[in-house]
Amino acid sequence: MPAKETIKPVSEATGPMGESSPLKEISVRTVETTKRIDEPQRRSKVSIKGINAWFGSKQALKNINLEIEENAATAFMGPSGCGKTTLIRCLNRMHEMTPGAKANGQVILDGIDIYDKSIDPVVIKRRIGMVFQKPNPFPTMSIFDNVAAGLKLNGVKDKKLIKEIVEESLEGAGLWEEVKNELDKPGMGLSGGQQQRLCIARALAMQPEVLLMDEPTSALDPIASFKIEELVHQLKKHLTIIIVTHNMQQAARVADHAAFMYLGEMIEYGKTLQIFQYPKQELTEKFVSGKFG
């Protein structure tokens, strides 16, 4: 995934910046220079190719192209309504479950297009986990059952195996030490931040390859948010993480790559450092310097 390819969609896009050709020239040249200082190239886990999405007749995403690196964290950022949540929901085919919503294009996960007609969206969601804005544990279930829910849904019956995976997942979500003595207590009895980590554990129990996080800290206080961010650093060692955030500091703290979106278009995508320090697009520069958004 050379940086040049990464930036190509931007110049192709007919966005607010698309018509200004001098800027395009500059961005291509900058890419050539940044390429040399790139660390050794890592594998692309998810390729987003020409994704368009609609709510009814309103187009929410316009021809998005993006390569997501394996075992790294990628942040989608942008002002409210820019389509970042819609985009992340397109990556596990959750978007189309909203009445009236549809999407087309390709999302290629390890060589398989998840929008292919032969693919069952249910199976895709087992490989791509998701964590939502508001913690949403199942209210009638205990902590243990919450984490085991996905396994049970997919027909895992082996109690010993379930127990092992639940423990592993809670450890993975940094919650084990806090709840190991009260696994049979209701999940709703936990604090907001713990609930969100419970939801992360629930997603981890499915042993996903990609974890989508849709503004996972927007409903949490700063300390709980910090813990989630720490967790992202841990998890990305073995997991491809895509995180939506409207919080630029958070993107800067957790993400290796960042994508800036505006009005349903991908404005700029690159290494987080580059996006924040040397943005190529004027809009990105305005956003990261806090002039709007």
Binding site: M94, K125, F132, K134, P139, T140, G150, N154, R202, M206
Partner: protein
């Protein structure tokens, strides 16, 4: 208000309870002839409970099915008219159901359901009686039609307020539509669905005119149903049948006594339902309701 009613009913029923004592509840005779008066309510208690149980056994699953279909499965252009039609059923006065059942529906039930059951399954005691059409079974079925709109429309609303985040949580774990219902939707809505069912049950127990028209109006020991196809009598239907022609004060008091039992029965069911619901809600800190 409830206290006033309970007081009036209790006072009216006092003579019969002092005359018959506990016999009034456990007895089976019903004789209003002057001088040989004897009143026992047991057959009608059984008739009430049995017809309501049949109504629930048929009505609740169908109502759940309708509510699930409307909220979780059907596309909008089907679900809206369908729920409208089901709700329209709730607006039909029960006497209309009664007339329809009396003149049309009971023959369908007799010929299409009861006869085949009798012919093939009469070795099961439930079905061992030549069906006639005006019996407890028919009453239960027609009652179920009457309670389906109530239960299904309340259940529909309850399913509708299950937050989408719950459904998405299940879907994101790779749940199928059924898995999502089972894991996310039902547990969240179960206390509400239970409440809806008990509301339907309350309606079925108290329903008078419809039952009077089709339950067969048996009296005395003969009103103890030995099969599902027996003619029976419910508390409410007996009151309706005899209230106008109550021959003596004691007869009148006996009918009011039936009312007292009916009131008690509905209260017990209602309070029982409340307790069940609140215990479920307590199991869920932060749960709704």
């Amino acid at each position: 208000m409830l206290i006033l009613v309970a007081f009036a009913v209790g006072e009216g029923a006092l003579p019969i309870f002092s005359q018959e004592g506990f016999q009034f509840i456990t007895g089976t005779d019903w004789n209003a002839v002057y001088g040989r008066e004897s009143f026992g309510a047991l057959p009608y208690i059984i008739g009430t409970l049995l017809s309501s149980a049949i109504a629930m056994a048929i009505g609740v699953p169908i109502s759940l099915g309708i509510a699930i279909f409307v909220t979780e499965m059907a596309p909008h252009r089907i679900s809206t008219p369908l729920s409208f039609v089901v709700e329209l059923l709730a607006a039909v006065p029960s006497i209309i159901y009664g007339l329809w059942a009396l003149f049309v529906f009971r023959f369908w039930i007799r010929d299409l359901i009861e006869r085949p059951l009798y012919e093939h399954l009469s070795w099961i005691p439930f079905f061992d009686k030549t069906p006639f059409g005006l019996d407890i079974f028919t009453a239960g079925i027609v009652l179920s039609i009457m309670i389906i709109p109530i239960i299904s429309s309340i259940t529909r609303e309850i399913l509708r307020v299950v937050p989408n985040s719950q459904r998405e949580a299940a879907y994101s774990l790779g749940a199928t539509r059924w898995g999502t219902l089972r894991t996310a939707v039902f547990p969240y809505a179960r206390s509400g669905i239970l409440g809806a069912s008990f509301l339907g049950l309350g309606r079925a127990i108290g329903e008078t005119i419809l039952v009077t028209m089709i339950i067969g109006n048996a009296i005395g020991p003969a009103a103890i149903p030995t099969t599902l196809f027996s003619q029976g009598q419910s508390l409410a239907s007996l009151i309706a049948n005899e209230f106008n022609e109550a021959a003596s004060d004691l007869h009148l008091s006996a009918l009011i006594g039936l009312g007292a039992i009916l009131l008690l029965l509905s209260m017990v069911i209602n309070i029982g339902a409340r307790l069940m619901v609140s215990r479920m809600v307590k199991a869920v800190p932060g749960g709704r309701e």
